[in-house]
């Protein structure tokens, strides 16, 4: 068992003071980065890269990986407490996390998101350690046709996200897809809807859109309701923290979502957000009481958080096994490795096993540190829910402006964020959900570019001749068809009764 020996060697390396400081500092920074709308995990890692140039390579990587893993959890804090997802993948956490807070059960939302994140992170790491080489070989064989089919399958979650409101959810997703068509065409280089300004060459950035749609639109709605003078109504006491039995009930949802999240994370270009949406959808479909999803079911929080945290381990699979980044954050890690003259890829295991295995050990330890710091911090985060709204709302407004500016140091993004905020507020007024817009924006580019790439490579038949693509497309049809048929049947029954 050479792998275990190497693993213990990796743990041995953590016995020094510097790596431990790096983990603790990384986890604290990561939680803050995640919780701050506007700082996504990849930006958090990127911001810290320059600070690591003068550190030892081990310490530098341990610090960055700790930030990465903790920020995927951190996004859930604001998603649960104030319905403002701090990271794109935490959009899904808010579906059930925020309703829990509104019912005065913020503790349940926070506790479940922390525990699910930790277990997800650990399962992702275990899969990374033991199966990275064979999994990476499968990942690079994934054809553009399969990416397209996966993106379409992801889009079908709109049908169940929307519930009775599926038509409006569908329109919102279409809006997200349309927004995605702005910018330079990724395949042919033609400018689409850029109106002559280079600011639109890359289309709208996701983060300012996310902040506008969720955080700002919420602020505008509160201003309109004019209920700012009322303090928070949420009361909280010790009772609301979940017990061991509460967590035990979620074991299948967490384990299933963790494995699923890791697998999705492996495919370069898929990532945490898609993993969270799909896991949530699967949890809902397998649940005995799917109607409680979206109304504060802890299982929904668990599925989303386990999936996005476990995708970290998945995204590291192609990075370490092949030298190819699986996510935006791991792309930044490639740069961090190269500045220390380390070339990521299979040779790293041979030439510098110390680096690889201390990284594995650090991933494990970072998850436990995150659990401890998260438990201590949760008592603090929960107080966000008792901040009077007239203090909280201006604070969210200020953070939104800073967050959208921070993405590219550009006032254009701030303006875009306000634009999305106003549109989000108007759309919400008429009952359109926000999450499908984000889903459309995340999946639109993946679907479009891979569709066109697949056609260049194998013509239009390729989607049906490749088995994996065909299966995913059939699943997509079923996943949208079955809920619609059930709604139709239910409506018919109701009519008959009348």
């Amino acid at each position: 068992m050479e792998i275990l020996n190497n693993f213990f060697m990796g743990f041995g390396y953590l016995g020094h003071i510097q790596p431990i400081i790096a983990i603790v500092a990384g986890v604290i920074l990561g939680i803050m980065v995640g919780a701050m709308p506007g700082l996504s995990p990849s930006m958090g890692v990127a911001l810290l890269v320059p600070f690591t140039y003068n550190l030892q390579p081990h310490v530098a990587l341990i610090l960055l990986i700790s930030i990465y893993i903790a920020s995927e959890y951190g996004g859930s804090i604001t998603a649960v407490t104030i319905n403002t997802p701090g990271t794109p993948s935490a959009v899904v956490t808010a579906f059930d996390g925020y309703p829990l807070t509104k019912q005065g059960k913020a503790g349940t939302g926070l506790g479940v998101s922390l525990v699910a994140s930790t277990i997800g992170g650990i399962i992702g790491t275990i899969i990374l350690i033991f199966f990275s080489v064979p999994l990476a070989r499968v990942a690079v064989r994934m054809h553009p046709a399969e990416y397209f089919a996966l993106a379409i399958f992801g889009l079908t979650t709109v049908a169940s996200l929307g519930g009775k409101n599926w038509a409006k959810a569908f329109l919102a997703a279409m809006l997200g897809l349309l927004i995605n068509t702005i910018g330079i065409d990724p395949i042919s280089g033609v400018k689409r809807f850029t109106f002559g300004t280079y600011r639109l060459f890359d289309g709208f950035a996701l983060i300012p859109a996310l902040i506008g749609l969720f955080a700002l639109s919420e602020v505008f709605t509160r201003i309109e309701e004019n209920k700012l003078e009322k303090g928070a109504q949420t009361k909280f006491d010790k009772e609301q923290w979940p017990s061991f039995m509460d967590y035990w009930k979620l074991k299948f949802a967490i384990i299933r979502s963790s494995i699923f999240g890791t697998l999705i994370g492996i495919f370069p270009g898929a990532g945490a957000t898609i993993a969270a949406f799909l896991s949530y959808d699967i949890a809902k479909k397998l649940s005995k009481s799917p109607e409680t999803f979206g109304k504060g079911n802890p299982e929904g929080v668990a599925a989303a958080e386990a999936a996005n945290s476990s995708s970290v381990g998945g995204a590291l699979v192609p990075l370490l096994a092949l030298g190819i980044p699986g996510s935006a954050s791991t792309a930044v890690l490639v740069g961090a490795l190269m500045i220390h003259d380390l070339v990521p890829g299979p040779m790293l295991f041979v030439e510098r096993p110390d680096i690889v295995y201390s990284l594995f050990a650090a991933l494990m330890v970072a998850n436990f540190v995150m659990l401890i710091l998260g438990l201590m911090g949760a008592k603090l985060w929960i107080k966000v829910t008792v901040i009077p709204k007239k203090v909280l709302m201006p604070a969210i407004l200020a953070i939104s402006m800073i967050g959208s500016f921070a993405v590219n140091y550009s006032f254009f993004d701030v303006a875009a964020c306000i634009g999305f905020g106003v549109s989000g507020w108007l759309l919400k007024k008429y009952g359109f959900p926000m999450a499908p817009i984000v889903l459309g924006m995340v999946l639109g580019k993946l679907a479009e570019t891979n569709f066109r790439r697949a056609v260049i490579m194998g013509g239009y038949n390729v989607f049906f001749t490749r088995p994996a693509s065909l299966i995913l497309l059939i699943l997509a049809v079923l996943s949208i068809g079955i809920p619609l048929y059930q709604t139709y049947k239910a409506n018919k029954k109701e009519k008959n009764r009348i």
Partner: protein
């Protein structure tokens, strides 16, 4: 009336202070440049290849000068965002920009109104030859095998690489023309994703630079666009050896520019730094093994190269 007066007074104050600032700079700017930190604008995000090169440069430059360099990442629109930003700065030498040949091609492909001579291209530092990379596991590894496979597939051979219209795509088209073969270009979001697809045997070749196969035992370089074989890759033939003419100088170059109009004395200060970095053992140890030619071509020569590249891209577009 009152309003007009206020505006007039404001304008007067602004213009006076602008003159004052300009005068002050002239007084000490030429003498003891630099007196404040120099901003190095990088058009990729942190961790990108250009970012790493720029930070390595500032690291090594700090051995030879007390000047402080601050790297600022301005990613977006393939470099146009950063170029537009630098174009608005004052030509005082305090804003340096990392540039590559793909910035020049972007100006043309995006129909940008920016003239390349908005910038003074003060130092070309690296010349990285283009090459064709293959996967050892496909059975199509050498250039002869690539040609035979292309002919067998009759135009359906797949060449993987980054975005359409970029440097690698243009090079691939020149190779097809020169070699008399036909193939299809499959553009990916980044070079890394295209390499992943080549590892997964989704295509036959990847067009890039020789350094990209380092640490990846599955990859080979089939042929390289230089006149002579590269000392770092002695087994890799040049296209010329293979009987294909006209591909001796297809390269990616990297260098630095400032806003045009910067004082000659400031550029002389930079020349000295660039010369020292070019000869620095750490710089050589980092970039020579990748197959890069490390050079220091100063402004007159570099500006001519940029103008020629720009004109060639313009001509190719029409």
């Amino acid at each position: 009336m009152k309003k007009a007066l206020v505006i007039f007074l404001l304008l007067a104050i602004v213009s006076i202070s602008a003159f004052a600032a300009g005068g002050a700079e002239k007084a000490d700017g030429a003498e003891k440049f630099p007196t404040k930190p120099i901003k190095l604008v990088v058009y990729t995000g942190p961790g990108g290849a250009g970012d790493i090169l720029s930070r390595k440069f500032t690291d090594i430059a700090s051995k030879y000068t007390d000047a402080t360099f601050v790297v600022e990442n301005k990613a977006g629109a393939g470099g146009i965002v950063a170029m537009e930003y630098v174009a608005t700065t004052k030509p005082d030498g305090y804003t340096l920009m990392y540039m590559t040949k793909s910035n020049v091609s972007k100006l043309v492909t995006t129909d940008s109104e920016l003239d390349p001579m908005t910038f003074d291209w003060i130092a070309q530092m690296q010349i990285d030859p283009e090459c064709v990379i293959t996967n050892n596991k496909t059975g199509v590894v050498t250039w002869e095998q690539v040609v035979a496979d292309a002919k067998a597939k009759g135009g359906d051979q797949l060449w993987l690489g980054p975005a359409a219209g970029g440097l690698d795509h243009v090079t691939a088209q020149m190779i097809w023309k020169a070699a008399g073969i036909e193939a299809k270009w499959v553009p990916f979001a980044s070079g890394g994703k295209a390499k992943a697809a080549l590892l997964g045997v989704q295509g036959i070749t990847y067009t890039g630079n020789p350094g990209e196969i380092i640490g990846k035992p599955d990859f080979s370089v089939a042929a390289v666009c230089t006149a002579e074989r590269l000392p770092q890759f002695p087994d890799v033939p040049t296209f010329k050896e293979l009987g294909i003419e006209g591909l001796e100088n297809e390269v990616m170059w990297r260098g630095f520019a400032v806003k045009a109009g910067t004082d000659d004395s400031i550029i002389a200060w930079y020349d000295d730094i660039f010369e020292k970095v070019t000869n620095d053992p750490e710089w050589i140890a980092t970039y020579a093994p990748m197959g890069n030619m490390l050079v220091h071509k100063p402004r007159d020569e570099f500006n001519k190269i940029v103008q020629a590249d720009y004109d060639a891209y313009k001509a190719a577009k029409q």
